[in-house]
């Protein structure tokens, strides 16, 4: 069958199982949009307000489902607007295929209108990228992009296609949807060694990260933890895998992790690191991190081993199959002494502090969401204080239920991500937890949620300051508040209504419960603004380079 390049792109997307994509048209992309026009019944395009929003939406779609998210953008500014979204996905290992149109081949390199060398720009933030120059290679390039994005350690792939290639005609030979071959797993003898280490350990700890979610190993992890009774903690990327409130669940580790998790790592004699990469927000002091522990690092990416921290043993491969292999090798046991110590820390340290705080509190907001909403809830966050509170207090979630920009820390990620999740999971209740700072970055995507009648509930924790930076200026810069008190007069209720969404305000927990019920009842997106005290802090806080012994707790 002879097709144009544009038609080949869309046909291969459909062949690879793509049902939804996010994008924004423009001159160089017009042929591709024409191909979409003729295939509206087979693939749905979501128009966003901005290409950054489209990229975050595809990212949220991918995080919420495990499927590869797809973005379509035009040349020049369309392409550069995807950059922050691509970097966000890259740092959190999220599978994306980003297709950018470019000016025609004869115009490339001449600083033509809306021309940019996007493959050069995105080299360090993609797993791989392609500049297509030959129509006969187009179909296989798109197929390869899906293979690279969705295999091994996931990541974004960009394909740049000049306009004349989208117009050229070529034969398309159909191919099956690519499926990932079974990832190799560690040899049995290696797993046996890990099991021996576990049986000898007196104070073992598990710390898991996003790798557990990428490899769909949540169930295996719960089984492994239940059998071995090893207390667990997680990086922010692992939020939601293990149900909160469990005595084996110490919560988050690191800079804003729980005191218990950080104490446990400090005291542990064995640490199993499962799909986490010892970033500077987790291992704040590389020399003094888990100082008494034998560290066993599990990762699918060999280059993560010893990248940030020296470990005693490395297991390379797929976590799901490795945990399944490990479960029969470990003994079921009780750990009264070690778990007793952890329970003691939990009751001594892990309390929410709140002297002199007025009005509704972030912990209450997250509690209400946990109580009122069922299993089928997705929480997407922006970045800053509210993100940490959401991670610390978000009780009701599941793997792929907590979407946050952990690695890049992208303010403005949340709305797009929530929109992507709402498109992917039409039956889920999708929350977007944000703040006055982050929300001002990308609130324009409200129009996307309105146009597509997506019931995304945005909760704005409004403390009138850029809270995280404000907190650091308080603690480390002698209260020299600068560029963190913007004196904005934005009226969120009116703004929501201006976009065609519903706006609410809640100043107490009771009011919040009431308006949340109303917001959930109605159609389309809603915003709930909750004024919070500007002195509300994210605690504990272990400063850069510190350990649990240098934690700030009030």
């Amino acid at each position: 069958m002879k097709l144009t390049g544009a038609e080949i792109i869309i046909e291969v997307l459909i062949e690879q199982g793509v049902t939804d994509l996010f994008g924004y048209p423009g001159g160089a992309a017009l042929n591709i949009y024409e191909a979409l026009y003729h295939r509206q019944d087979r693939i749905k395009h979501y128009l966003t307000a901005h290409e950054q929003g489209a990229t975050h939406a595809a990212d949220g779609y991918a995080r919420a489902t495990g499927k590869t998210g797809v973005v379509l953008a035009t040349s020049g500014p369309g392409a550069t607007n995807t950059v922050t979204g691509i970097a966000t996905a890259y740092l959190d290992s999220v599978p994306l295929v980003v297709i950018t149109a470019n000016v025609g081949t004869s115009l490339i390199g001449k600083d033509s209108f809306q021309e940019v060398f996007i493959t050069g720009i995105t080299q360090p933030i993609t797993k791989h990228n392609y500049a297509v120059r030959d129509i006969t290679k187009l179909a296989d390039t798109v197929r390869h992009a899906f293979m690279i994005a969705g295999s091994g350690r996931r990541g974004p792939v960009l394909i740049d296609v000049p306009k004349d290639i989208t117009a050229a005609v070529c034969e398309l030979t159909p191919a099956p949807k690519w499926t990932e071959p079974k990832a190799p797993s560690a040899p049995q003898a290696e797993l046996k060694k890990v099991a021996d280490l576990i049986s000898k350990a007196k104070r073992p700890v598990i710390c898991f990260g996003g790798g557990i979610i990428s490899s769909e190993a949540g169930k295996e992890l719960v089984e492994f933890v239940t059998k071995t009774q090893i207390p667990t903690c997680h990086t922010i990327m692992g939020t939601g895998v293990i149900g909160f409130g469990d005595h084996l669940d110490m919560g988050m580790i690191g800079m804003h992790g729980s005191m218990t998790a950080n104490h446990a790592i400090d005291e542990a004699d064995l640490m199993l690191a499962l799909g986490m990469r010892f970033s500077d927000r987790v291992a704040l002091n590389l020399r003094d991190f888990a100082p008494h522990a034998t560290i066993v690092q599990f990762d699918i990416d060999e280059s993560e081993i010893r990248k940030n921290i020296l470990v005693d043993m490395a297991i390379i491969g797929d976590l799901k199959s490795e945990l399944s292999g490990l479960i029969p090798l470990v003994e079921s046991r009780e750990r009264p002494e070690w778990l007793g110590m952890i329970a003691k820390w939990q009751s001594a340290f892990d309390l929410v502090n709140g002297k002199n705080i007025s009005g509704i509190r972030p912990v209450e907001i997250m509690e209400v969401i946990g109580e009122k909403c069922g299993e089928n809830t997705v929480v997407a966050t922006d970045v800053g204080q509210h993100q940490m509170w959401a991670a610390q207090f978000c009780k009701k979630t599941r793997p792929r239920g907590f979407l946050t920009s952990g690695g890049l820390g992208t303010m403005g990620f949340g709305y797009g991500a929530a929109i992507g999740a709402a498109v992917a999971l039409p039956d889920a209740t999708v929350f977007h937890i944000t703040s006055d700072g982050s929300f001002h970055m990308n609130m324009n995507e409200a129009c996307t949620a309105v146009s597509n009648k997506l019931k995304v509930i945005t909760i704005i924790l409004d403390n009138k300051v850029l809270g995280m930076v404000h907190q650091w200026q308080t603690d480390f810069y002698n209260n020299h508040f600068f560029a963190t008190e913007p004196e904005r007069k934005s009226d969120y209720v009116k703004l929501a209504e201006g976009f065609g969404a519903r706006g609410f305000r809640a100043e107490t927990k009771q009011e919040f419960e009431k308006v949340l019920a109303e917001a959930l009842k109605g159609e389309g997106p809603a915003w709930i603004v909750c004024p919070i005290d500007r002195d509300e802090k994210v605690l504990p806080l272990i400063p850069n380079g510190g350990t649990v012994r240098s934690a700030i707790v009030e």
Partner: protein, 174 residues
């Protein structure tokens, strides 16, 4: 851990931008490139890159693992400086009037360097050899006025029957 020199050989797909990708990775991760050579191999779809870099054992391990992950990189090998054949080419233009020519020619003879250009005021010498030989030659020639100098950077190959081949990476792409 101590910082040392390392010579890394890469087989890469002979595509546009592959060199910039490899160089970008070094830049992004903060690794040094002391020298770099690249050319097509007997298989025109494959190019060979030789990078001279430095770092402690952990950095060198990271360089190898990070480059191996790249889609277009088909093989990575750390060359053993004492075992492998290392070669580099030097061109050096030395200011030389009549009174200095004989002495420079004598040095060239000892080092088996050839004189490839000759003018009333200068001589261009060419020398191929392992980097230490080139350094030795330059130590002597430096006593004269060096007008211009370029070195190609090291290229390397194992001795004997050991050959570098492309790996099948499909099974462990990460």
């Amino acid at each position: 851990m101590s910082v040392k020199k390392a010579i890394i050989a890469l087989l890469v797909e002979n595509n546009a931008n592959v060199l910039s990708r490899v160089a970008m990775l070094f830049g992004k991760r903060g690794y040094n490139i002391d020298s770099l050579t690249v050319s097509e191999t007997n298989d025109p779809s494959i190019s060979r890159i030789t990078v001279t870099t430095q770092g402690d054992d952990r950095i060198i391990e990271q360089i190898i693992l990070q480059t191996r992950k790249m889609v277009e990189v088909k093989a990575v090998a750390l060359e053993d400086e004492n075992e492998a054949i290392l070669r580099e080419l030097l061109l050096v233009k030395v200011g030389a009037d009549e009174s200095q020519r004989v002495a420079i020619r004598e040095i060239c003879e000892i080092y088996k360097a050839s004189i490839v250009d000759f003018s009333p005021s200068s001589i261009v010498c060419e020398l191929t050899g392992k980097p230490s030989k080139i350094n030795g030659f330059l130590d002597i020639v430096e006593k004269y006025q060096i007008l211009e100098l370029c070195r190609t950077g090291v290229t390397a190959m194992d001795r004997g029957s050991k050959i570098m081949v492309c790996e099948n990476k499909e099974s462990h792409r990460s």
